[in-house]
């Protein structure tokens, strides 16, 4: 699903040159749930940005869902992100002036989908995360956990090939974090590939495989014993 080979990324200012990724090679198989961990400055976010085609890189190759995406144009990357990648952000990144329905609708509109199909997908996605009855609410009327569930619904509505989660429980208390994590596990159990960036080792243990980064390189990899009994994802009534 995701094959990154010897990818280098360097940030340059007039005075400083920072090597964020140093010949990083990472591979994620279809249907895998991978956690990427590391301390601050280890390159987690840069990895996620490159994996999600949010940033370009200067060396190496990157194949995603069988396509070489190393040298796509800005517009082609937008289209690829829109059609194949679902994002879950640490601070949810919902648009505060739009209600839940409209928030989930955002990526679908960029896909130029028909109104009817969009409506069907949005309702299904929101029902899946248990917020089907609150479509007309705005984000400010929800708890943090609910907002993250909306963000997950937004990511799911596009039926992505891979879900990239950036510290998905970083802004949540333990109860809500647990609920969100269970939701991610359900999504994974349903067959979706998930790559989750986190600094929380306990959280990382819920994934199937841990990739640890240090100074822009993979420093360790370990497979984790399954800890949950997550069921395939079903719509919540």
């Amino acid at each position: 699903m995701l094959q990154m080979t010897e990818v280098k990324k360097t940030y340059r200012t007039e005075l400083v040159e920072t090597h964020a990724l140093r010949e990083m090679t990472v591979s994620v198989s279809k249907g895998e749930f991978v956690a990427v961990t590391g301390s601050s400055g280890s390159g987690k976010t840069t990895f996620l940005n490159i994996a999600g085609l949010l940033e370009s890189f200067e060396h190496g190759t990157y194949r995603l869902d069988g396509e070489d995406v190393s040298r796509l144009s800005d517009d082609e990357r937008s289209t690829f992100r829109n059609q194949k990648i679902g994002f879950i952000f640490q601070s949810f990144n919902l648009i505060p002036d739009l209600n839940l329905f409209e928030n989930v609708d955002v990526p679908l509109r960029y896909r130029r989908m028909s109104k009817g199909e969009r409506k069907q997908r949005i309702e299904h996605a929101l029902e899946t995360v248990g917020l089907g009855s609150r479509m007309k609410h705005v984000p400010a009327q929800l708890s943090g956990g609910q907002q993250q569930r909306v963000a997950i619904a937004r990511a799911l509505a596009g039926d992505p090939k891979i879900l990239l989660a950036d510290e998905p429980t970083g802004n949540l208390d333990s109860t809500m974090a647990h609920q969100v994590l269970e939701l991610l596990e359900e999504i994974h159990a349903n067959g979706t590939t998930i790559v989750m960036v986190t600094h929380d080792q306990e959280l990382a243990q819920r994934a199937e495989r841990n990739i640890q980064l240090l100074d822009g390189r993979v420093s360790a990899e370990e497979f984790v014993e399954p800890q949950t009994n997550a069921q395939p994802l079903r719509a919540t009534a």
């Binding site: 800005d74 937008s78 002036d97 209600n99 609708d105």
Partner: protein
């Protein structure tokens, strides 16, 4: 982003957009009404006067001393001017058209004081008067030289029983008939026959609504102060003005030349308030449009900064740069259109108030769509640069924590 979600987003956060819409509404109302007034003033200043304004020189002279022979002085002066090469014609007149100074009278078609007289400007000049102003007759005849009497200050207005009138005055006096050959009556009830009709000639007071009403009597006004009207060959005016002044000054030391100006300058003075009003309103329009553009740029730029993370998120979710530009342009279009809708109501209200309070002409409705389209274009241009900057926000902003 479609219009529906954008509208609902605007409604949830409406203070800024509402203020911009209000600014646009006020701008539309002021700009359209001001523009209408400007165009009216410009139209007024550019009216066809019927006079060859650009090639006419007006010389004001005044004799002094108890034994000053006014008639002889005028005759000598006119001969002197007439003989200067490049001069087409010259006359002495009691007043100067378009100058702001003149005299008026009332004419009737029957000798009955109970009937309301038709107001008109009144001039007296020699047989060269028409040619000196470049005025043409459409029917009838000019004065003959032998019909020109010396008009002393004490002469009555009915000193000669025939007159020339403008077509405007003829139409006012005899709406359904040909005025040529008809008799009109002065305030003294002395009769005068219309012997010629002038196609067009403006009188002295450019703000008068009966500016085109002019009656001309034959005569050679011989007052203490006199005005010579001289028309020269095209292009020679500025060259001949000092020559006329010099020759007149040298020919008679007992007569001073009060001023020697072009009729164009005098007419410009008469239209000074109109020109000033047009200039002031143009400045107001320019400043207001500039201010509105700045407000649009300001709000859009603020939104770009405020929504940086949101823009990055949209980019991460699949928005192309053009989608972000479209979003800002569409949002601006909605605000502008809302402002324009309110502005139309305001514009009509202000126009009605101006019409009722200041007797201005009714606003031409075509100014409204033209104004709205102009504002659309203006605000689109104003928002384009902020929208372009918004589109340059990288999608990686979505994953930044600050």
């Amino acid at each position: 982003m479609g219009i529906g979600p954008m509208l609902s987003a605007l409604m949830r956060n409406k203070t800024g957009p509402a203020l911009v819409a209000l600014q646009i509404a006020v701008t539309l109302a002021i700009v359209i009404n001001s523009l209408f007034i400007i165009l009216q003033r410009v139209e007024k200043m550019n009216r066809d006067t019927g006079i060859d304004v650009n090639n006419v020189i007006i010389t004001y002279v005044r004799g002094f001393g108890d034994d000053f022979d006014t008639i002889a002085s005028i005759n000598n002066d006119l001969d002197l001017i007439r003989n200067i090469p490049g001069v087409v014609a010259t006359t002495v007149s009691n007043h100067v058209p378009l100058s702001g100074s003149g005299s008026g009278t009332g004419l009737r078609t029957v000798p009955d004081e109970t009937i309301e007289a038709v107001s008109t400007a009144r001039y007296r000049w020699t047989e060269d008067g028409l040619d000196a102003l470049g005025i043409t007759l459409t029917s009838g005849r000019n004065f003959y030289p032998e019909e020109i009497n010396d008009i002393l200050p004490e002469s009555s207005e009915g000193s000669q029983p025939f007159v020339l009138v403008t077509q405007d005055l003829a139409d006012s006096l005899f709406p359904e008939e040909d005025a040529l050959g008809k008799t009109v009556y002065w305030g003294s009830m002395d009769p005068a026959t219309i012997i010629g009709i002038i196609g067009r000639m403006h009188g002295s007071w450019v703000n008068w609504d009966k500016l085109g009403n002019v009656v001309i009597q034959p005569g050679k006004p011989a007052y203490t102060s006199n005005k010579y009207i001289t028309r020269v060959e095209p292009g020679l005016r500025d060259e001949l003005m000092p020559i006329i002044e010099q020759k007149l000054g040298e020919s008679n030391r007992r007569r001073v030349i009060n001023s020697n100006r072009s009729l164009e300058e005098l007419a410009d003075r008469s239209y000074r308030r109109d020109r000033g009003m047009a200039i002031i309103l143009s400045i107001v329009i320019t400043l207001l449009i500039g201010l509105t553009a700045l407000v649009v740029v300001g709000l859009s730029s603020f939104h770009v900064t405020q929504r940086r993370k949101q823009i990055g998120t949209r980019r991460a979710l699949g928005a192309k740069r053009i989608d972000i530009i479209k979003q800002f342009m569409l949002e601006n279009w909605i605000i502008t259109t809302a402002g324009a809708a309110l502005g139309v109501v305001l514009t009509i209200g202000v126009a009605y108030w101006l019409e009722v309070s200041f007797e201005l002409e009714r606003l031409d409705w075509r100014f409204l769509p033209a104004g709205i389209v102009t504002l659309w274009v203006l605000s689109s241009l104003a928002v384009f640069e902020p929208a372009r900057r918004a589109a340059a926000v990288p999608p990686a902003v979505a994953t930044r924590s600050v």
